[in-house]
């Protein structure tokens, strides 16, 4: 029994000239939640498709639940559950039929299917709607049904591609609670993709930031944030910005300097915001940069993301 539920080495997927995934390494421990965070088109879904055996990698290798995704694809398939990015569920069937047919595809005996359905329906709170056609479900109900379908065969590992995309805040928090609960009570390993910072921060033990088909950085969300510095001072203004930024980089207590995506704010990461604020403001004046607005805050995963994928200034 390996310690990692998911392992990938140099995973690559090319479509002609287009490289969707340019070499990703992953090691997700059993029983943990891992979030791949990245913008749309970063290669998250393509990575999930390779790990769930839907597509074959161009290069590299991966094993899921200890089995190779290419050579032992069927072994992988019997041990995983998947929900897809778009809502993928038959509109003309009832929720119960959707779950039942799914179980039959995996050759679950009738008694097991019936037991699983009644358990899962309770878990995702669809008891009243389960015998209605899926057509009549709201978006959040369909998502919950899909989650139940992914869990139908009692998988070791659950893959969730953008699990809360398009859901209202209440349903999002609901799905988050199910995910946390499943991870804690059943020791389920979860790999999810998301482009919501708060989702990755709220759920994952480890976050991998994916950009342009590569895993840019990977760590616990708190570590990613604290690596940036204790505080971030956001400065907006006009004048000699480049001179100001160049000066900041030579200041010992400044950990790093970024520009936000619009180039509107200069983000100055420092050891202590309240203590250094006066010095930063003073050095702006000395470098002919007139400050319009300045705020001090704790860095967020959003700042981490910007730092690693956006218009980050080179150190």
């Amino acid at each position: 029994m390996t310690t990692f539920a998911i392992e990938a080495h140099g995973l690559v997927k090319r479509y002609g000239d287009l490289t969707a995934v340019a070499g990703i390494d992953l090691a997700v421990p059993r029983g943990s939640i891992y979030a791949m965070l990245g913008p749309n088109g970063a290669g998250k879904t393509t990575t999930i498709n390779m790990l769930t055996t839907l597509i074959v990698p161009t290069a590299g290798s991966a094993s899921v639940a200890g089995y190779d995704v290419v050579r032992a694809a069927n072994q992988v398939r019997t041990r995983i559950g998947v929900t897809f990015q778009d809502i993928v569920v038959d509109q003309d069937l009832t929720g119960r039929e959707v779950l039942d047919i799914h179980g039959r595809l995996y050759r679950q005996p009738t008694a097991v299917r019936q037991r699983r359905i009644s358990e899962l329906v309770e878990l995702v709170q669809l008891t009243d709607a389960i015998d209605r056609r899926v057509r009549t479900y709201s978006g959040g109900m369909k998502r919950r049904l899909e989650l139940a379908r992914g869990l139908m065969t009692d998988p070791e590992i659950l893959f969730l591609d953008e699990p809360t995309q398009g859901l209202d805040p209440q349903n999002r928090v609901g799905i988050w609670n199910y995910i946390r609960d499943l991870n804690q009570t059943r020791d389920l390993t979860l790999l999810l993709t998301t482009h919501y910072m708060d989702e990755a921060e709220a759920l994952a033990a480890r976050v991998g930031i994916v950009d342009k088909g590569r895993l840019v950085v990977e760590d616990a969300p708190a570590t990613l944030v604290s690596n940036l510095g204790a505080d971030v001072i956001r400065v907006r203004g006009q004048g000699e910005r480049d001179q100001f930024v160049a000066h900041l980089k030579s200041v010992p207590f400044v950990i790093r300097v970024d520009l936000d995506t619009l180039g509107e704010f200069v983000l100055v990461y420092v050891d202590s915001g309240s203590r250094r604020l006066a010095e930063i403001v003073a050095s702006a004046g000395a470098n002919h940069f007139q400050i319009d607005d300045v705020t001090v805050a704790r860095p967020s995963l959003g700042d981490v993301f910007l730092h690693h994928t956006g218009n980050a200034l080179r150190d």
């Binding site: 597509i55 398939r77 897809f84 993928v88 799914h102 039959r104 050759r107 379908r149």
Partner: protein, 251 residues
Amino acid sequence: MYATYVIWNKHMVKFLRNREELLGLALQSVLWVVLFGVGMRGLISEIEGRDYMSYILPGILALSVLGGAVGGGMVMLDERLRGILKEYLAAPIPRLSILLGSATSTATKALFQAVLMLVVGILMGARLALNPAGWLVSLILLGLFALGFSGIALAVAAVSRSIAGYHGMIFLFNLPLLFASNALYPLAVLPGWMQAIVLLNPTTYLIDAIRTLAFGTTATLPLTLSIAVVTLFAILGTWLALSMFQRTIRS
């Protein structure tokens, strides 16, 4: 191939539940037989020694098979465009069973419609020859033809980007398969160049065989040739669907 059965079964449940599709298929059958058959019967009372209703019924059966196959291809296209295909692909089932499930459900629908038309045709005065063995062979041939055309429909469904694109492509097959055949008029009355086209059409062989076997008309083409052509059509259609399907799931 338990998965094939599960997918077939699911498609049947969806089919029987979809009242519009069922009603549409049933009405189509009635309309064709009544409007076309009865109308033309006023014009042509007898053809090759048979009443016109008995003459055109095999052609209408072939047409209904086409209609059923188009509907079946739609199911697969719908599942592909909606992404339900991915649910199958992530499951530990043979890839072939996904296609076979769709092909058998498509062929079942096509046969269902053909039988419906047969009943309506007989009610409207078509007369079957008393040849149960011939009926059986006719039904098998219809099944093979259904499989062949389902293959074409599924192949198109495997590569179409949209529902409109699918219908446009299918229409290209559908129309000539019916009109460039002996469905509505005997081979002998056609000019030579059209005869050549009609003889390239597998529908012609199916219709000639059914006329001979189930309606007692004298064969205009050798029966063994007709059976061979229809069988070949079934194999080609299945092969086409398989190769297109494999191309799709690889990307």
